[in-house]
Symmetry: C2
Subunit: 310 residues, 2 copies
Amino acid sequence: MASPAYIAVDWGTSSFRLWLIGEDDSILGERRSGEGMTSAAQTGFAQVLQSHLDALAAPENLPVIVCGMAGARQGWVEAGYIDTPTSLSAILTGAVSVPGQSRDVRILPGLAQRDRQAPDVMRGEETQLLGAIAADAKGEQVVCMPGTHSKWVRVVNGQVTGFSTFMTGELFDVITKHSILSHAVAGAADVPADSTAFESAIKAAFNKPALATNLLFTARAGQLLHGLTAAGARALISGTLIGAEIAGALSSAGQGAAITLVASGRLQTLYEDAFRTLGLTYTTVDADAAVRRGLSAAAKAIWPNNERKS
Amino acid sequence: MASPAYIAVDWGTSSFRLWLIGEDDSILGERRSGEGMTSAAQTGFAQVLQSHLDALAAPENLPVIVCGMAGARQGWVEAGYIDTPTSLSAILTGAVSVPGQSRDVRILPGLAQRDRQAPDVMRGEETQLLGAIAADAKGEQVVCMPGTHSKWVRVVNGQVTGFSTFMTGELFDVITKHSILSHAVAGAADVPADSTAFESAIKAAFNKPALATNLLFTARAGQLLHGLTAAGARALISGTLIGAEIAGALSSAGQGAAITLVASGRLQTLYEDAFRTLGLTYTTVDADAAVRRGLSAAAKAIWPNNERKS
Protein backbone atom coordinates (compact mmCIF):
# COMPACT_ATOMS: atom_id res chain seq x y z
CA MET A 1 0.00 0.00 0.00
CA ALA A 2 1.23 3.50 -0.89
CA SER A 3 2.29 5.89 1.88
CA PRO A 4 -0.17 8.70 2.61
CA ALA A 5 0.75 11.97 0.87
CA TYR A 6 -2.01 14.44 1.77
CA ILE A 7 -5.60 14.88 2.89
CA ALA A 8 -8.23 16.17 0.43
CA VAL A 9 -11.43 17.76 1.76
CA ASP A 10 -14.56 18.88 -0.11
CA TRP A 11 -16.33 21.00 2.51
CA GLY A 12 -19.74 22.14 1.28
CA THR A 13 -22.61 23.97 2.91
CA SER A 14 -24.22 20.83 4.25
CA SER A 15 -21.76 18.05 3.48
CA PHE A 16 -18.22 17.10 4.45
CA ARG A 17 -16.12 14.62 2.46
CA LEU A 18 -12.53 13.75 3.24
CA TRP A 19 -10.07 11.46 1.49
CA LEU A 20 -6.67 10.23 2.64
CA ILE A 21 -4.66 10.16 -0.59
CA GLY A 22 -1.53 8.08 -1.19
CA GLU A 23 1.72 9.00 -2.97
CA ASP A 24 0.42 7.17 -6.04
CA ASP A 25 -2.95 9.03 -5.95
CA SER A 26 -4.73 5.99 -4.52
CA ILE A 27 -7.49 6.48 -1.95
CA LEU A 28 -6.28 5.14 1.40
CA GLY A 29 -9.27 6.21 3.44
CA GLU A 30 -12.52 8.13 3.12
CA ARG A 31 -14.96 9.93 5.45
CA ARG A 32 -18.38 11.43 4.69
CA SER A 33 -20.66 13.32 7.03
CA GLY A 34 -23.29 16.02 7.23
CA GLU A 35 -20.90 18.36 9.07
CA GLY A 36 -20.94 20.99 6.33
CA MET A 37 -20.16 24.67 6.85
CA THR A 38 -23.49 25.36 8.55
CA SER A 39 -22.92 22.72 11.19
CA ALA A 40 -19.13 23.21 11.51
CA ALA A 41 -19.58 26.96 12.04
CA GLN A 42 -21.30 25.99 15.29
CA THR A 43 -19.07 23.13 16.47
CA GLY A 44 -15.75 24.45 15.13
CA PHE A 45 -14.04 23.65 11.82
CA ALA A 46 -10.76 22.50 13.40
CA GLN A 47 -12.56 20.07 15.70
CA VAL A 48 -14.63 18.57 12.88
CA LEU A 49 -11.54 18.10 10.71
CA GLN A 50 -9.51 16.62 13.56
CA SER A 51 -12.22 14.10 14.47
CA HIS A 52 -12.19 12.70 10.94
CA LEU A 53 -8.38 12.68 10.77
CA ASP A 54 -8.32 10.80 14.08
CA ALA A 55 -10.85 8.27 12.76
CA LEU A 56 -8.49 7.51 9.86
CA ALA A 57 -5.38 7.67 12.08
CA ALA A 58 -3.91 10.16 9.61
CA PRO A 59 -0.18 10.90 10.16
CA GLU A 60 0.39 14.19 12.00
CA ASN A 61 2.59 15.87 9.44
CA LEU A 62 0.19 15.32 6.53
CA PRO A 63 -1.01 18.55 4.86
CA VAL A 64 -4.67 19.19 4.11
CA ILE A 65 -6.12 20.78 0.98
CA VAL A 66 -9.72 22.01 1.26
CA CYS A 67 -12.23 23.33 -1.28
CA GLY A 68 -15.78 24.61 -0.88
CA MET A 69 -17.76 26.70 1.57
CA ALA A 70 -15.16 26.35 4.34
CA GLY A 71 -13.53 29.25 2.43
CA ALA A 72 -16.64 31.45 2.49
CA ARG A 73 -16.90 34.62 4.59
CA GLN A 74 -19.08 32.74 7.07
CA GLY A 75 -16.77 29.67 6.85
CA TRP A 76 -13.45 28.79 8.47
CA VAL A 77 -11.06 31.25 6.83
CA GLU A 78 -12.17 33.41 3.91
CA ALA A 79 -10.38 32.32 0.77
CA GLY A 80 -11.67 35.04 -1.56
CA TYR A 81 -12.42 34.62 -5.24
CA ILE A 82 -10.47 34.45 -8.48
CA ASP A 83 -12.23 36.67 -11.03
CA THR A 84 -13.40 35.48 -14.43
CA PRO A 85 -12.23 35.35 -17.12
CA THR A 86 -9.43 33.16 -15.77
CA SER A 87 -7.46 30.06 -16.49
CA LEU A 88 -8.50 27.16 -14.28
CA SER A 89 -5.00 26.77 -12.91
CA ALA A 90 -5.20 30.26 -11.35
CA ILE A 91 -7.20 28.84 -8.46
CA LEU A 92 -4.14 26.76 -7.52
CA THR A 93 -2.24 29.94 -6.70
CA GLY A 94 -5.00 31.48 -4.58
CA ALA A 95 -5.08 29.02 -1.68
CA VAL A 96 -5.00 30.59 1.80
CA SER A 97 -3.37 29.02 4.87
CA VAL A 98 -5.44 28.40 7.96
CA PRO A 99 -3.44 30.01 10.81
CA GLY A 100 -2.71 28.35 14.15
CA GLN A 101 -2.96 24.74 12.96
CA SER A 102 -0.39 22.08 13.76
CA ARG A 103 -0.59 20.89 10.14
CA ASP A 104 -0.42 22.82 6.88
CA VAL A 105 -4.09 23.43 5.99
CA ARG A 106 -4.93 25.36 2.81
CA ILE A 107 -8.31 26.42 1.49
CA LEU A 108 -8.81 27.03 -2.24
CA PRO A 109 -10.55 30.20 -3.44
CA GLY A 110 -13.83 30.32 -5.35
CA LEU A 111 -14.59 31.96 -8.69
CA ALA A 112 -16.39 35.29 -9.07
CA GLN A 113 -18.01 36.81 -12.13
CA ARG A 114 -18.16 40.53 -11.27
CA ASP A 115 -20.36 41.47 -14.25
CA ARG A 116 -22.88 44.08 -12.96
CA GLN A 117 -25.75 42.51 -14.89
CA ALA A 118 -24.90 38.90 -14.14
CA PRO A 119 -22.94 38.67 -10.90
CA ASP A 120 -22.20 35.09 -9.92
CA VAL A 121 -20.06 33.07 -7.53
CA MET A 122 -19.00 29.47 -6.98
CA ARG A 123 -17.11 27.67 -4.24
CA GLY A 124 -16.10 24.07 -4.65
CA GLU A 125 -17.28 23.64 -8.24
CA GLU A 126 -14.11 25.39 -9.52
CA THR A 127 -12.12 22.50 -8.05
CA GLN A 128 -14.48 19.95 -9.63
CA LEU A 129 -14.05 21.81 -12.89
CA LEU A 130 -10.27 21.67 -12.59
CA GLY A 131 -10.55 17.90 -12.23
CA ALA A 132 -13.14 17.49 -14.98
CA ILE A 133 -11.54 19.46 -17.81
CA ALA A 134 -8.16 18.68 -19.30
CA ALA A 135 -5.87 21.70 -18.81
CA ASP A 136 -4.97 21.64 -22.50
CA ALA A 137 -8.57 21.26 -23.77
CA LYS A 138 -9.14 23.13 -27.03
CA GLY A 139 -12.28 24.85 -28.28
CA GLU A 140 -15.52 25.65 -26.42
CA GLN A 141 -16.84 23.44 -23.68
CA VAL A 142 -20.02 23.79 -21.68
CA VAL A 143 -19.79 22.16 -18.27
CA CYS A 144 -22.94 21.33 -16.30
CA MET A 145 -22.53 20.70 -12.57
CA PRO A 146 -26.02 20.00 -11.21
CA GLY A 147 -26.90 20.37 -7.55
CA THR A 148 -28.57 22.59 -4.97
CA HIS A 149 -27.25 25.47 -7.06
CA SER A 150 -26.47 24.08 -10.51
CA LYS A 151 -23.47 25.67 -12.18
CA TRP A 152 -23.07 25.95 -15.95
CA VAL A 153 -19.60 27.02 -16.99
CA ARG A 154 -18.28 28.09 -20.38
CA VAL A 155 -14.64 27.12 -20.94
CA VAL A 156 -12.84 28.24 -24.10
CA ASN A 157 -9.33 26.90 -24.71
CA GLY A 158 -8.87 26.21 -21.00
CA GLN A 159 -10.11 29.68 -19.91
CA VAL A 160 -13.29 30.07 -17.84
CA THR A 161 -15.05 32.84 -19.76
CA GLY A 162 -18.25 32.91 -17.72
CA PHE A 163 -20.72 30.90 -15.67
CA SER A 164 -24.32 30.87 -14.46
CA THR A 165 -25.92 29.49 -11.33
CA PHE A 166 -29.45 28.06 -11.48
CA MET A 167 -31.22 27.48 -8.17
CA THR A 168 -32.77 24.24 -9.42
CA GLY A 169 -32.05 21.88 -6.52
CA GLU A 170 -32.93 24.36 -3.82
CA LEU A 171 -36.14 25.44 -5.60
CA PHE A 172 -37.17 21.80 -5.91
CA ASP A 173 -36.57 21.43 -2.20
CA VAL A 174 -38.49 24.52 -1.01
CA ILE A 175 -41.33 23.96 -3.48
CA THR A 176 -41.89 20.33 -2.53
CA LYS A 177 -41.53 21.09 1.18
CA HIS A 178 -43.12 24.50 1.71
CA SER A 179 -45.52 25.31 -1.14
CA ILE A 180 -49.02 24.05 -1.89
CA LEU A 181 -47.33 21.44 -4.12
CA SER A 182 -46.08 19.70 -0.98
CA HIS A 183 -49.55 18.11 -0.85
CA ALA A 184 -49.27 16.96 -4.47
CA VAL A 185 -45.99 15.10 -3.81
CA ALA A 186 -46.83 13.79 -0.32
CA GLY A 187 -45.79 10.18 0.03
CA ALA A 188 -43.70 10.03 -3.16
CA ALA A 189 -40.21 8.52 -2.94
CA ASP A 190 -37.14 10.72 -3.26
CA VAL A 191 -36.23 9.65 -6.75
CA PRO A 192 -38.65 10.68 -9.49
CA ALA A 193 -39.88 7.25 -10.45
CA ASP A 194 -42.28 8.39 -13.14
CA SER A 195 -39.97 8.79 -16.14
CA THR A 196 -42.86 9.55 -18.52
CA ALA A 197 -43.94 12.55 -16.43
CA PHE A 198 -40.31 13.61 -16.00
CA GLU A 199 -39.48 13.49 -19.69
CA SER A 200 -42.71 15.19 -20.69
CA ALA A 201 -41.99 18.03 -18.22
CA ILE A 202 -38.38 18.30 -19.45
CA LYS A 203 -39.63 18.83 -23.01
CA ALA A 204 -42.42 21.23 -22.03
CA ALA A 205 -40.15 23.46 -19.90
CA PHE A 206 -37.25 23.33 -22.37
CA ASN A 207 -39.54 24.39 -25.21
CA LYS A 208 -41.38 27.06 -23.22
CA PRO A 209 -39.21 28.04 -20.24
CA ALA A 210 -41.30 31.20 -19.79
CA LEU A 211 -44.12 28.92 -18.66
CA ALA A 212 -42.06 27.20 -15.94
CA THR A 213 -43.96 28.62 -12.96
CA ASN A 214 -47.21 27.79 -14.77
CA LEU A 215 -46.07 24.22 -15.50
CA LEU A 216 -45.28 23.77 -11.81
CA PHE A 217 -48.92 24.48 -10.96
CA THR A 218 -50.07 21.72 -13.33
CA ALA A 219 -48.74 19.34 -10.64
CA ARG A 220 -51.66 20.49 -8.49
CA ALA A 221 -54.24 20.90 -11.23
CA GLY A 222 -53.25 17.54 -12.75
CA GLN A 223 -53.86 15.91 -9.40
CA LEU A 224 -57.27 17.58 -8.97
CA LEU A 225 -58.47 16.95 -12.54
CA HIS A 226 -56.62 13.89 -13.86
CA GLY A 227 -55.56 11.92 -10.79
CA LEU A 228 -51.84 12.67 -11.27
CA THR A 229 -49.95 10.54 -8.72
CA ALA A 230 -47.54 11.87 -6.09
CA ALA A 231 -44.64 10.27 -7.98
CA GLY A 232 -45.90 11.89 -11.18
CA ALA A 233 -46.17 15.30 -9.49
CA ARG A 234 -42.65 14.96 -8.09
CA ALA A 235 -41.29 14.02 -11.52
CA LEU A 236 -43.20 16.89 -13.13
CA ILE A 237 -41.74 19.46 -10.71
CA SER A 238 -38.23 18.06 -11.12
CA GLY A 239 -38.52 17.91 -14.91
CA THR A 240 -39.91 21.45 -15.14
CA LEU A 241 -37.07 22.97 -13.12
CA ILE A 242 -34.35 20.98 -14.92
CA GLY A 243 -35.86 21.61 -18.37
CA ALA A 244 -36.02 25.36 -17.74
CA GLU A 245 -32.44 25.29 -16.41
CA ILE A 246 -31.12 23.59 -19.55
CA ALA A 247 -33.04 26.01 -21.79
CA GLY A 248 -31.59 28.97 -19.91
CA ALA A 249 -28.05 27.61 -19.82
CA LEU A 250 -28.00 26.80 -23.53
CA SER A 251 -29.58 30.14 -24.47
CA SER A 252 -26.29 31.82 -23.63
CA ALA A 253 -24.01 29.02 -24.87
CA GLY A 254 -23.71 27.92 -28.47
CA GLN A 255 -26.44 25.37 -29.22
CA GLY A 256 -23.86 23.04 -30.72
CA ALA A 257 -21.41 23.21 -27.81
CA ALA A 258 -20.26 19.91 -26.33
CA ILE A 259 -21.77 19.41 -22.87
CA THR A 260 -19.71 17.85 -20.10
CA LEU A 261 -21.91 16.66 -17.25
CA VAL A 262 -20.11 16.49 -13.90
CA ALA A 263 -22.39 14.48 -11.64
CA SER A 264 -22.88 11.22 -9.83
CA GLY A 265 -25.72 9.17 -8.37
CA ARG A 266 -29.29 10.46 -8.61
CA LEU A 267 -28.40 13.76 -10.27
CA GLN A 268 -26.36 11.98 -12.92
CA THR A 269 -29.35 9.77 -13.75
CA LEU A 270 -31.75 12.72 -13.93
CA TYR A 271 -29.58 14.96 -16.08
CA GLU A 272 -28.54 12.15 -18.43
CA ASP A 273 -32.23 11.34 -18.89
CA ALA A 274 -32.94 15.03 -19.55
CA PHE A 275 -30.14 15.40 -22.13
CA ARG A 276 -31.21 12.20 -23.91
CA THR A 277 -34.85 13.37 -23.94
CA LEU A 278 -33.79 16.63 -25.57
CA GLY A 279 -31.45 14.95 -28.03
CA LEU A 280 -28.40 16.76 -26.61
CA THR A 281 -24.92 15.26 -26.84
CA TYR A 282 -23.00 15.01 -23.58
CA THR A 283 -20.20 13.18 -21.84
CA THR A 284 -20.32 12.39 -18.14
CA VAL A 285 -17.51 12.83 -15.63
CA ASP A 286 -18.01 11.40 -12.13
CA ALA A 287 -18.38 14.32 -9.70
CA ASP A 288 -16.54 12.63 -6.83
CA ALA A 289 -13.62 11.65 -9.02
CA ALA A 290 -13.52 15.17 -10.49
CA VAL A 291 -13.28 16.94 -7.14
CA ARG A 292 -10.56 14.51 -5.97
CA ARG A 293 -8.58 15.10 -9.17
CA GLY A 294 -8.95 18.86 -8.71
CA LEU A 295 -7.83 18.69 -5.06
CA SER A 296 -4.96 16.45 -6.13
CA ALA A 297 -3.84 18.94 -8.78
CA ALA A 298 -3.92 21.67 -6.13
CA ALA A 299 -1.97 19.55 -3.61
CA LYS A 300 0.71 18.79 -6.19
CA ALA A 301 1.02 22.46 -7.15
CA ILE A 302 1.23 23.63 -3.52
CA TRP A 303 3.45 20.83 -2.17
CA PRO A 304 5.41 19.71 -5.24
CA ASN A 305 7.84 17.56 -3.23
CA ASN A 306 5.22 15.84 -1.14
CA GLU A 307 5.03 12.70 -3.20
CA ARG A 308 8.62 11.98 -2.34
CA LYS A 309 8.22 12.97 1.32
CA SER A 310 7.07 10.92 4.35
CA MET B 1 -80.18 53.82 4.12
CA ALA B 2 -81.13 50.94 1.85
CA SER B 3 -82.52 47.74 3.35
CA PRO B 4 -80.10 44.80 3.37
CA ALA B 5 -80.63 42.43 0.40
CA TYR B 6 -77.99 39.71 0.75
CA ILE B 7 -74.58 38.80 2.14
CA ALA B 8 -71.59 38.43 -0.18
CA VAL B 9 -68.56 36.37 0.92
CA ASP B 10 -65.16 35.93 -0.74
CA TRP B 11 -63.72 32.95 1.15
CA GLY B 12 -60.14 32.25 0.11
CA THR B 13 -57.48 29.87 1.36
CA SER B 14 -56.19 32.25 4.00
CA SER B 15 -58.61 35.18 3.95
CA PHE B 16 -62.28 35.80 4.63
CA ARG B 17 -64.15 38.90 3.41
CA LEU B 18 -67.84 39.53 3.92
CA TRP B 19 -70.08 42.36 2.78
CA LEU B 20 -73.64 43.17 3.78
CA ILE B 21 -75.16 44.48 0.55
CA GLY B 22 -78.21 46.72 0.30
CA GLU B 23 -81.12 46.60 -2.16
CA ASP B 24 -79.45 49.40 -4.11
CA ASP B 25 -76.08 47.55 -4.21
CA SER B 26 -74.61 49.80 -1.51
CA ILE B 27 -72.25 48.33 1.09
CA LEU B 28 -74.00 48.38 4.47
CA GLY B 29 -71.31 46.54 6.39
CA GLU B 30 -67.97 44.79 5.88
CA ARG B 31 -65.87 42.20 7.71
CA ARG B 32 -62.34 40.98 6.98
CA SER B 33 -60.38 38.30 8.77
CA GLY B 34 -57.71 35.65 8.35
CA GLU B 35 -60.27 32.86 8.83
CA GLY B 36 -59.75 31.42 5.36
CA MET B 37 -60.48 27.83 4.36
CA THR B 38 -57.42 26.48 6.16
CA SER B 39 -58.46 27.99 9.48
CA ALA B 40 -62.24 27.50 9.02
CA ALA B 41 -61.76 23.81 8.19
CA GLN B 42 -60.58 23.47 11.81
CA THR B 43 -63.03 25.76 13.59
CA GLY B 44 -66.09 25.11 11.39
CA PHE B 45 -67.30 27.12 8.39
CA ALA B 46 -70.83 27.68 9.76
CA GLN B 47 -69.46 29.07 13.04
CA VAL B 48 -67.03 31.44 11.30
CA LEU B 49 -69.78 32.77 9.03
CA GLN B 50 -72.25 33.15 11.89
CA SER B 51 -69.79 35.08 14.06
CA HIS B 52 -69.35 37.67 11.32
CA LEU B 53 -73.07 37.85 10.62
CA ASP B 54 -73.67 38.40 14.34
CA ALA B 55 -71.06 41.14 14.42
CA LEU B 56 -72.99 42.98 11.69
CA ALA B 57 -76.39 42.12 13.20
CA ALA B 58 -77.41 40.74 9.80
CA PRO B 59 -81.15 39.97 9.47
CA GLU B 60 -81.90 36.25 9.89
CA ASN B 61 -83.64 35.69 6.58
CA LEU B 62 -80.85 37.22 4.47
CA PRO B 63 -79.32 34.79 1.93
CA VAL B 64 -75.55 34.36 1.54
CA ILE B 65 -73.60 34.02 -1.70
CA VAL B 66 -70.06 32.66 -1.37
CA CYS B 67 -67.16 32.29 -3.80
CA GLY B 68 -63.67 30.86 -3.36
CA MET B 69 -62.02 27.96 -1.58
CA ALA B 70 -65.02 27.34 0.69
CA GLY B 71 -66.26 25.38 -2.37
CA ALA B 72 -63.12 23.24 -2.65
CA ARG B 73 -63.07 19.52 -1.85
CA GLN B 74 -61.35 20.31 1.45
CA GLY B 75 -63.67 23.30 2.01
CA TRP B 76 -67.25 23.59 3.34
CA VAL B 77 -69.29 21.98 0.57
CA GLU B 78 -67.67 21.02 -2.73
CA ALA B 79 -69.02 23.23 -5.49
CA GLY B 80 -67.32 21.53 -8.44
CA TYR B 81 -66.05 23.24 -11.55
CA ILE B 82 -67.48 24.66 -14.75
CA ASP B 83 -65.30 23.49 -17.64
CA THR B 84 -63.66 25.80 -20.16
CA PRO B 85 -64.44 26.97 -22.75
CA THR B 86 -67.46 28.56 -21.13
CA SER B 87 -69.41 31.78 -20.93
CA LEU B 88 -68.80 33.61 -17.68
CA SER B 89 -72.47 33.56 -16.82
CA ALA B 90 -72.40 29.74 -16.62
CA ILE B 91 -70.90 29.94 -13.14
CA LEU B 92 -74.11 31.63 -11.99
CA THR B 93 -76.01 28.43 -12.69
CA GLY B 94 -73.56 26.14 -10.90
CA ALA B 95 -73.98 27.35 -7.32
CA VAL B 96 -74.54 24.61 -4.71
CA SER B 97 -76.65 24.98 -1.57
CA VAL B 98 -75.09 24.37 1.81
CA PRO B 99 -77.45 21.91 3.54
CA GLY B 100 -78.68 22.22 7.11
CA GLN B 101 -78.40 26.01 7.37
CA SER B 102 -81.15 28.26 8.71
CA ARG B 103 -80.48 30.68 5.85
CA ASP B 104 -80.08 30.10 2.12
CA VAL B 105 -76.29 29.76 1.62
CA ARG B 106 -74.94 29.09 -1.89
CA ILE B 107 -71.36 28.51 -2.97
CA LEU B 108 -70.26 29.31 -6.54
CA PRO B 109 -68.29 26.74 -8.55
CA GLY B 110 -64.75 27.25 -9.84
CA LEU B 111 -63.45 26.93 -13.39
CA ALA B 112 -61.51 23.93 -14.70
CA GLN B 113 -59.41 23.60 -17.84
CA ARG B 114 -59.29 19.84 -18.41
CA ASP B 115 -56.65 20.00 -21.16
CA ARG B 116 -54.27 17.01 -20.56
CA GLN B 117 -51.18 19.10 -21.34
CA ALA B 118 -52.25 22.21 -19.44
CA PRO B 119 -54.68 21.28 -16.68
CA ASP B 120 -55.65 24.26 -14.56
CA VAL B 121 -58.18 25.32 -11.94
CA MET B 122 -59.40 28.49 -10.27
CA ARG B 123 -61.76 29.21 -7.37
CA GLY B 124 -62.81 32.73 -6.57
CA GLU B 125 -61.10 34.42 -9.53
CA GLU B 126 -63.99 33.36 -11.83
CA THR B 127 -66.26 35.57 -9.70
CA GLN B 128 -63.78 38.44 -9.87
CA LEU B 129 -63.67 37.92 -13.62
CA LEU B 130 -67.45 38.05 -13.85
CA GLY B 131 -67.32 41.40 -12.09
CA ALA B 132 -64.36 42.74 -14.08
CA ILE B 133 -65.49 41.99 -17.62
CA ALA B 134 -68.61 43.37 -19.22
CA ALA B 135 -70.88 40.45 -20.21
CA ASP B 136 -71.23 41.90 -23.72
CA ALA B 137 -67.48 42.60 -24.20
CA LYS B 138 -66.38 42.03 -27.79
CA GLY B 139 -63.01 40.82 -29.11
CA GLU B 140 -60.09 39.29 -27.21
CA GLN B 141 -59.24 40.31 -23.69
CA VAL B 142 -56.39 39.14 -21.51
CA VAL B 143 -57.17 39.42 -17.83
CA CYS B 144 -54.36 39.35 -15.25
CA MET B 145 -55.34 38.58 -11.66
CA PRO B 146 -52.11 38.64 -9.64
CA GLY B 147 -51.77 36.91 -6.29
CA THR B 148 -50.42 33.87 -4.48
CA HIS B 149 -51.35 31.99 -7.66
CA SER B 150 -51.65 34.57 -10.43
CA LYS B 151 -54.33 33.79 -13.00
CA TRP B 152 -54.16 34.94 -16.61
CA VAL B 153 -57.42 34.42 -18.47
CA ARG B 154 -58.19 34.74 -22.16
CA VAL B 155 -61.72 35.94 -22.85
CA VAL B 156 -63.00 36.12 -26.43
CA ASN B 157 -66.42 37.69 -27.03
CA GLY B 158 -67.43 36.97 -23.44
CA GLN B 159 -66.27 33.32 -23.54
CA VAL B 160 -63.43 32.09 -21.31
CA THR B 161 -61.33 30.17 -23.82
CA GLY B 162 -58.46 29.25 -21.50
CA PHE B 163 -56.38 30.32 -18.51
CA SER B 164 -53.01 29.79 -16.88
CA THR B 165 -51.91 29.89 -13.25
CA PHE B 166 -48.44 31.16 -12.35
CA MET B 167 -47.20 30.41 -8.83
CA THR B 168 -45.57 33.85 -8.56
CA GLY B 169 -46.78 34.98 -5.14
CA GLU B 170 -46.23 31.67 -3.45
CA LEU B 171 -42.77 31.24 -5.00
CA PHE B 172 -41.82 34.71 -3.77
CA ASP B 173 -42.96 33.68 -0.34
CA VAL B 174 -41.15 30.32 -0.10
CA ILE B 175 -37.98 31.68 -1.75
CA THR B 176 -37.68 34.68 0.57
CA LYS B 177 -38.57 32.62 3.64
CA HIS B 178 -36.97 29.23 3.09
CA SER B 179 -34.15 29.43 0.52
CA ILE B 180 -30.60 30.79 0.83
CA LEU B 181 -32.03 34.08 -0.51
CA SER B 182 -33.78 34.58 2.84
CA HIS B 183 -30.41 35.92 4.06
CA ALA B 184 -30.19 38.32 1.11
CA VAL B 185 -33.58 39.90 1.92
CA ALA B 186 -33.31 39.80 5.72
CA GLY B 187 -34.49 43.07 7.23
CA ALA B 188 -36.10 44.44 4.05
CA ALA B 189 -39.61 45.87 4.29
CA ASP B 190 -42.55 44.05 2.75
CA VAL B 191 -42.98 46.36 -0.19
CA PRO B 192 -40.14 46.31 -2.74
CA ALA B 193 -38.87 49.83 -2.17
CA ASP B 194 -36.08 49.67 -4.72
CA SER B 195 -37.90 50.48 -7.96
CA THR B 196 -34.68 50.57 -10.00
CA ALA B 197 -33.83 46.98 -9.03
CA PHE B 198 -37.46 45.92 -9.55
CA GLU B 199 -37.73 47.43 -13.03
CA SER B 200 -34.34 46.13 -14.10
CA ALA B 201 -35.34 42.60 -12.98
CA ILE B 202 -38.72 42.92 -14.74
CA LYS B 203 -36.94 43.68 -18.02
CA ALA B 204 -34.27 41.01 -17.59
CA ALA B 205 -36.75 38.24 -16.79
CA PHE B 206 -39.26 39.34 -19.43
CA ASN B 207 -36.56 39.35 -22.12
CA LYS B 208 -34.94 36.07 -21.00
CA PRO B 209 -37.49 34.14 -18.94
CA ALA B 210 -35.41 30.97 -19.37
CA LEU B 211 -32.84 32.59 -17.08
CA ALA B 212 -35.35 33.24 -14.26
CA THR B 213 -33.86 30.76 -11.77
CA ASN B 214 -30.41 32.12 -12.63
CA LEU B 215 -31.52 35.75 -12.17
CA LEU B 216 -32.86 34.81 -8.73
CA PHE B 217 -29.37 33.74 -7.68
CA THR B 218 -27.97 37.15 -8.65
CA ALA B 219 -29.74 38.41 -5.51
CA ARG B 220 -27.14 36.46 -3.54
CA ALA B 221 -24.16 37.03 -5.83
CA GLY B 222 -25.02 40.74 -6.12
CA GLN B 223 -24.96 41.00 -2.35
CA LEU B 224 -21.61 39.19 -2.08
CA LEU B 225 -19.93 41.06 -4.94
CA HIS B 226 -21.62 44.44 -5.29
CA GLY B 227 -23.20 45.16 -1.91
CA LEU B 228 -26.77 44.75 -3.16
CA THR B 229 -29.08 45.84 -0.32
CA ALA B 230 -31.81 43.70 1.25
CA ALA B 231 -34.44 45.97 -0.32
CA GLY B 232 -32.67 45.59 -3.67
CA ALA B 233 -32.57 41.80 -3.34
CA ARG B 234 -36.26 41.70 -2.46
CA ALA B 235 -37.13 43.87 -5.45
CA LEU B 236 -34.92 41.75 -7.71
CA ILE B 237 -36.64 38.51 -6.66
CA SER B 238 -40.11 40.06 -7.03
CA GLY B 239 -39.26 41.59 -10.42
CA THR B 240 -37.75 38.35 -11.72
CA LEU B 241 -40.81 36.28 -10.85
CA ILE B 242 -43.29 38.86 -12.17
CA GLY B 243 -41.27 39.50 -15.34
CA ALA B 244 -41.11 35.78 -16.13
CA GLU B 245 -44.85 35.46 -15.41
CA ILE B 246 -45.73 38.24 -17.85
CA ALA B 247 -43.45 36.76 -20.52
CA GLY B 248 -45.06 33.35 -20.09
CA ALA B 249 -48.61 34.68 -20.03
CA LEU B 250 -48.14 36.81 -23.15
CA SER B 251 -46.34 34.00 -25.02
CA SER B 252 -49.69 32.24 -25.38
CA ALA B 253 -51.84 35.37 -25.80
CA GLY B 254 -51.61 37.72 -28.75
CA GLN B 255 -48.88 40.31 -28.06
CA GLY B 256 -51.30 43.08 -28.96
CA ALA B 257 -54.15 41.90 -26.74
CA ALA B 258 -55.59 44.44 -24.31
CA ILE B 259 -54.61 43.60 -20.74
CA THR B 260 -57.09 44.08 -17.92
CA LEU B 261 -55.38 44.09 -14.54
CA VAL B 262 -57.66 43.05 -11.68
CA ALA B 263 -55.80 44.02 -8.53
CA SER B 264 -55.67 46.38 -5.59
CA GLY B 265 -53.14 47.65 -3.06
CA ARG B 266 -49.54 46.45 -3.24
CA LEU B 267 -50.09 44.02 -6.13
CA GLN B 268 -51.75 46.71 -8.20
CA THR B 269 -48.74 49.00 -7.70
CA LEU B 270 -46.26 46.23 -8.60
CA TYR B 271 -48.03 45.01 -11.73
CA GLU B 272 -48.78 48.52 -13.00
CA ASP B 273 -45.09 49.35 -12.57
CA ALA B 274 -44.19 46.13 -14.43
CA PHE B 275 -46.56 46.82 -17.35
CA ARG B 276 -45.33 50.42 -17.65
CA THR B 277 -41.70 49.25 -17.56
CA LEU B 278 -42.41 46.85 -20.42
CA GLY B 279 -44.41 49.38 -22.41
CA LEU B 280 -47.57 47.26 -22.23
CA THR B 281 -51.03 48.84 -22.40
CA TYR B 282 -53.42 47.92 -19.60
CA THR B 283 -56.49 49.06 -17.73
CA THR B 284 -56.95 48.41 -14.02
CA VAL B 285 -60.09 47.17 -12.30
CA ASP B 286 -60.14 47.21 -8.50
CA ALA B 287 -60.06 43.60 -7.28
CA ASP B 288 -62.35 44.15 -4.30
CA ALA B 289 -64.95 45.96 -6.39
CA ALA B 290 -64.72 43.23 -9.05
CA VAL B 291 -65.41 40.35 -6.66
CA ARG B 292 -68.34 42.26 -5.11
CA ARG B 293 -69.80 42.96 -8.55
CA GLY B 294 -69.41 39.26 -9.45
CA LEU B 295 -71.07 38.13 -6.22
CA SER B 296 -73.81 40.68 -6.80
CA ALA B 297 -74.45 39.36 -10.33
CA ALA B 298 -74.68 35.84 -8.88
CA ALA B 299 -77.04 36.94 -6.09
CA LYS B 300 -79.34 38.68 -8.58
CA ALA B 301 -79.39 35.64 -10.84
CA ILE B 302 -80.13 33.23 -7.97
CA TRP B 303 -82.59 35.39 -6.02
CA PRO B 304 -84.14 37.60 -8.72
CA ASN B 305 -86.90 38.90 -6.46
CA ASN B 306 -84.71 39.67 -3.50
CA GLU B 307 -84.35 43.34 -4.23
CA ARG B 308 -88.06 43.77 -3.77
CA LYS B 309 -88.20 41.56 -0.66
CA SER B 310 -87.51 42.35 3.02
